[in-house]
Symmetry: D3
């Protein structure tokens, strides 16, 4: 059986944060599927001129960007929960939905957003994912599938530096990561590209390797810690 | 070339904290070597009646326990820095000595003590190891060997629960871990054995697996974070 | 007048966390009453085979366990707020209800859950209790009773180790505590019993007494700190 | 046997921080003894005109203030370690000295400085005391006396507000506390008296009682937590 | 164009926390406007005997106090969001309303409540303000006005000491600050006045100046940090 | 009288961290002087081929780089404490030396290293500077000069992202900052330049301005907080 990675994100382009690691693992035979919480209707910092400022049009435009991007990222399954952008709130019901998808896809690795982020939807996504990952592993609600323990739940660094717990060397995948972000013409302004590259170079520096230059940084959450050496 | 684990500890019996993980990795072909910072002359909480309360005799007795234990743990190389027990302090000189041993042994994984521990020698050991691991990776002091980046520096939980960042399932190795501790007749009182087992069971619970019951917990330090998926 | 302890918990079996201390204080003449926030319909980690997986049946089954347990714990008054299990949220209304019960029972000591727990209902219970304890002490809403300052609000350690602020030696009461937990046949799997005992032994170790072996650990919250030496 | 309180301070006037609680407990039959780490030769923020700026003269002057103050505080035993003011450093030797005094006096309660203070000597005192309290309780170095567990080690708030863990109502003792501070004519400038009173009023407010107006605040350290309900 | 300060508060009298700094800046030509989130219907700790305990009457009474106080504070514009007192919750809609007022008033400096406060409405106000300040600066929702970056968003200390990041010397304005608070006859009990003065004196002490005696303390939030030396 | 900035650094090139802000303030009439703690004999991560690996030669080479750089930075006074590189330790004596220089130069603003850095000398420099800044403001040791309160003590971000408290927009000065760093041919490898630029771009992003692209980030220390609006 193929080993699976599940990305749990708030908005269309959020997977860029951990895309380098996804591509590195795909090389080793993992497949990637994704769960997006919102409609992405509010846009991010900088809107491309092609987008209008109407929420619905933004949502539609960003949905098409997402489709294009997921081809680049070779996503095998897309789940969407269609929550309102900028208004994502933790609820038992949403958490159960995410839990069911985890039990269905049985991912070995989950990448999601960071609870220390400044975007409220990112924090809410991390919160929902964190709870769903824990409950998915328990003898509970068997009608939603058999218990499944995600071995590696990792929370990706966003636009604000976190105090990371692990690094992944993505030097060989950085160019494709940047290319992936450029698919998001509504989001990838020069400033955003600077941020993407700078974050990756700083974490590359922290690899403290002679040759590695680009890295992605992740934190962990106590609810379900990564299990090493399985 | 054999892949190497280096344990950096304060006292003779400290390796018990991470011994389960060492044995798990030895099964996969890693070899284990160890660096002990002090003479272990002060003893730990509870002294066995066979030991006297003279510092030198304790040191001698514990040295013999260490030798016996290192056979159980199949240690290939022992380094000793002979610092005074309960008086370990960070110094540039000690840190350089540890750095040189790291560059010599080139370990992929280092296990050491925790900076949040309540024993001052444990904290000092973690401090020295943390600095040495970072400097060992840099283009610096080539007379002490070529730069070497430890991929996985992990800081083991001691007698006080930490907020861990990663877990290792040691269910299959717990019995040997306990047996190893019992070699330390001067230390392994019933109360200490209770602590050993309880810590391991609580972390086993946190594995949140259906079958795993014993685990070891580790924290990381920002100086040189673990690099995943190498 | 009898001095009163109030337990504020999320689910039927949560009082086990602090039951040792309750029994110790009952010996000194305190009486115990309890407030349970939810219906306990979702079950906990491991369900006993006697329970079904239907939420209502679980709730009913656990209610009967609670009744049996409260007899063991000699509870003089039970308050239930019947909130949905796994969906407890802070609200002004719930907080006012708890505040009114505090003003009615006038407890000197309150034991409740911990805000650092991984179960969302436990965190919500701690949140509601913490606010209610503070507001109960103020000159506010006299229609809900006269102001009452709880002298000792203590937040009990759950399934994840906290950084505790105070310990209570329960060596003489541990056996009854374990017996109490075993009343919960739907919850007390071998693994849960291991967790109960291990937590108690680790905190017993932290007593750092020659003879104490079992302890319960508590944290405090800045909203209304414990007042010593009254 | 009389129950004993031990104060462990850096400088002559530091006991004022917790003097209200000492006097409250003396009313209940406790006796008070004190251990001062330094010679107090550097003075504190504001020197009285009667003092010169020569270190030795300051030390002598402050020593006489201390003697007068300890009469007010009814101190039964004074220990002095004569360390250089503003240069106190943790050392194994100093820690052992403090440990021996703890084993000799067998205090039930220890009051000392706070590790979060801004004065380096206060932090060093807290560090030394914290370690000494832990080691004093262990089966270790029986030549320094039998193990003794301090039941209540409490770390007093200094000139910077801490996040306290417990409060003590000293409303009935505040006036004597202020009088005690005024014995220190070299230190008690109007500004310092303002600080003393303000700190006490703010913590009095946090008592959240109808009638209490003055309080002292304390933190705890994980090395040896306070044990409640002994 | 006049430079503007915007105060964002939960209740009628909350602006007293930062009023000293407002008055200091008004002397330099800034104008002050204010946004109050709730109806203030629940009262604060201690109600004046002139107030009844009916929520509506309290709200009305406090509204009249607010009007009088805003004259003292020379407020040029008052915005009210009429949320229920003690029940303020973050929502996208409320945050958008605050964001629009920020874009309309274009304040250089914003003073608001503290996220570490013990009053839930204060925390919610800080939360809403923090988000609104960040989103106001972004290229987003141009229908709500042009992007505006608040240069100095500062979060005022409340009834619990915070770990502040900056201080402001208000020695010359303290008397007026106290006078302003006394306008709130329903709130300004002797105890509250003690708290006001004590907080201001402690922070004055932390100025560590020879002559300053009163200060206000503020924290910052990572979402939009203060920009110095503009 | 000219307003003064004092830089307190560990090594020759450390001033680059805050050089953009220095240059911005020099435009407004501030003068800059500097205090360097060590001989810089150990080099930093990456040594230029022109440097040998002998400590003395490195120290000499770096000293000449420093001289050249200080011309670019228009430094009016250089103080050197000649401590051994990689071995800087806090001591009362060193702290008093720094205190005396502060009282002599009377800086309004001090820039120094960060206590959260991973380089031990940077942490020690921050520690010494933090204490010296506090003591310099007190009525203490008048033989070392009159008390002087640094209004703005700011701790610069190093090679590891901190949680900053304030930002400074250095967009107009970034090019000169980079040019300054390139004077350090022994240190400014491509990787280090990447780090410099990336850090500056990320903090520029956090300015959340429409036009600013480069920024420097600073933290504060509670010992002597920045005073705003003087």
């Amino acid at each position: 059986m193929k080993r699976t990675i599940l990305g749990i994100t708030a908005h269309a382009d959020d997977h860029v944060m951990f895309a380098g690691t996804v591509m590195k693992l795909q090389k080793r035979g993992y497949q990637y599927c994704e769960l997006v919480m919102t409609t992405s209707g509010e846009g991010r910092d900088f809107r491309d001129s092609k987008a209008t400022n109407k929420t619905e049009k933004i949502a539609k435009y960003r949905k098409s960007e997402l489709s294009a991007a997921l081809k680049v990222l070779k996503c095998t399954n897309l789940y969407e929960l269609h929550q309102e952008d900028q208004d994502l709130q933790y609820s038992k019901e949403l958490m159960h939905q995410v839990m069911r998808i985890i039990r269905l896809e049985k991912p070995e690795i989950v990448f999601t957003m960071n609870t220390f982020d400044v975007h409220p939807d990112h924090c809410a996504t991390a919160h929902i994912a964190r709870e769903a990952i824990r409950w998915a592993a328990k003898n509970f609600r068997s009608e939603y599938g058999a218990p499944h323990r995600v071995t590696m739940p990792l929370y990706a660094e966003g636009t604000v530096p976190v105090d990371p717990h692990v690094l992944v060397d993505i030097t060989d995948y950085y160019d494709v990561k940047e290319k992936l972000f450029k698919v998001y013409t509504s989001q990838a302004t020069p400033r955003d590209l600077d941020l993407l590259k700078s974050t990756s170079l700083i974490r590359g520096y922290h690899l403290r390797k002679q040759e590695g230059v680009h890295a992605e940084a992740f934190t962990v959450e106590k609810n379900s810690l990564p299990i090493l050496f399985e």
